[in-house]
Amino acid sequence: MNILVCVKRVPAPGARIVLTDDSQGIDTRHLGFTTSPHEECAVEAAVQLKEKHGGTTTVLTLGPPEATEQLRYSVSVGADKVVLVPADTTELDPQATAAALVEAIEELETETPFDLILFGNESADSGGYQVGIRVARKLGRPVISGLKGIEIDGDRMVGRRETDEGFEVYRLPMPAVAAAKEGITLPRYPTLPGRLKSRRAEIQEVPAGLRTGGQEMVSLLKPAEEVTETVILGHGAEAAPGVVRLLEEVGLL
């Protein structure tokens, strides 16, 4: 079973997002980068399926040369092959991103067709909620979003997604596409042998055309922040009566 996971490199903001002076991006001078959380879980889900059913897990990212950091990380947690689709911008719109990914996937599939292509439900930073669906439609494959559980049953992918009451089940004929949500499974931590392997991993570059989409970022802005005057109820155990008074005021006691 051959699985492709498409991931995005995103900044790992701490408690406060700081914008660059021209408001065209996030000031990342003091930030690390990470794999967008939903996609990190999608990689883990793919590696688990491979461990159970055999085959290969390929991880692909469209991004700058630095995104090889996230590709190497995915090798350290079990990915077999990694692919970079070079792009010097992180502000490609969803339509253009999907078109470039389709081009790269078609190129990769001349060697290995994928039974399953996984995405994250939405990227942590721009959150467009659509790239996986656009890719699937272009490839003519079935797709569901919000994937919270996955199993393989013969030639079907059995996917679960959450609802207010419980969950819904879908059975998609493969080859299929799905956009996973965090919680589908718990990502593992890299092992020492995994780290060593990731350093030696060969990164395949697959160039793709980057067109301009119909959605364009003009600038980023911070939402109006409410300034809160925090009332300190006390220090340590002595604060307990104050806390209980608060619980009474809120109507919980």
Partner: protein, 323 residues
């Protein structure tokens, strides 16, 4: 006159409480553009649910559309938009709305702007629009330009109040029968599993949540005890989930559950952006932390500084002493 379609999802005839939220900005838009405002939904159940809104509209009807089928829904909406020559299609950006609109956008090969909070300008050069949309789960906003003849947007949930659903007169909804290839029935709900009902993160009046400061899975016992005393549930931060201390279903945050309880008690949680966007809608926040400078402490309404285990034990003792 141009035409604005508002896609309103229904689950086998039932509208979610937020289902009509996108109608509020759509009405303003229709007035500004002097456009006709029309609903779009699926199935006879959808017709019954939307007639009281009092607007004209379209009920997409097809054997494949009798239960949720995202590929077929998107196909049908795309055909409706084309056939009716719509200039704008709007939907709420909840799970299904976002999914159906993405399918429609893909079929039509048009851009789709997700999670819009404000439509700033509809009179740009060459018909371009400027909108404000959500990034980073709401901790950042983006001013975006949309260039396309057909404008496709989803509206960020909980941004606009849903209008009073009772209109002056029942609206007339006409039937639209799309052409849907049988193959698209492949992406369809085939089974539903109900989980035990009870208090959930999303509905509990109080959530007692723990993060890195709790230190271990066992240490959550005291949070459980307080949550039970108060009639609430336990939540956690992403750190607690990733350490395997709590299941992901307990996670409050951008990639977990977004909550709005009467009181949120955050124990040993520093308050990264990822967590804050999940709890910022709480009516009151009490932060318990050893660090008075922790971001969540400075953003909270109330704070107690110190060791959370010691403080929670004292609070529980105090509640029990009251009898």
């Amino acid at each position: 006159m141009s035409r604005i379609l508002v896609f309103v999802d229904n689950d086998r005839g039932t509208l979610s409480p937020s289902a009509l939220e996108a109608l509020t900005p759509a009405r303003v838009l229709a007035e500004g553009l002097d456009a006709s405002l029309e609903l779009a939904t699926v199935g006879e159940g959808g017709r019954a649910a939307l007639e009281p809104v009092g607007l004209p509209g379209h009920v997409m009807s097809h054997p494949v559309l009798t239960d949720y089928a995202p590929e077929a829904y998107g196909e049908a909406l795309a055909q409706l938009a084309s056939e009716k020559n719509a200039s704008v299609v709007i939907s709420l950006g909840d799970d299904r709305g976002a999914e159906v609109m993405a399918h429609a956008a893909a079929v039509l090969d048009q851009p789709l702007v997700a999670n819009v909070t404000e439509i700033v300008d509809t009179g740009g050069p060459d018909g371009a629009w400027e909108v404000i949309r959500v990034r980073w789960g709401g901790s950042l906003l983006e001013r975006a330009r949309l260039r396309s003849t057909l404008k496709l947007l989803t509206i960020a949930p909980h941004t606009f109040p849903a209008p009073d659903s009772a209109g002056d007169a029942a609206g007339s909804l006409t039937t639209f029968v799309p052409e849907i290839p049988d193959a698209l029935a492949r992406t369809r709900v085939v089974e539903r599993v109900k989980l035990a009902e009870g208090l959930t993160l999303a509905t509990a009046p109080v959530v007692v949540s723990g993060g890195r400061g709790v230190g271990s899975a066992e240490n959550f016992a005291i949070l459980e005890e307080l949550a039970e005393l108060l009639g609430g549930v336990v939540g956690c931060s992403r750190v607690a989930t990733n350490n395997g201390w709590r299941p992901h279903s307990d996670q409050v945050g951008q990639t977990g559950t977004r909550i709005a309880p009467d009181l949120y008690i955050a124990c040993g949680i520093s308050g990264a952006v990822q967590h804050w966007v999940g709890c910022m809608a709480s009516k009151q926040i009490l932060a318990i932390n050893t660090d008075p400078e922790a971001p969540l402490v400075t953003k909270a309404d109330y704070a107690v500084i110190g060791d959370l285990h010691e403080i929670l034990a004292a609070v529980i003792a105090e509640i029990k002493a009251r009898g």
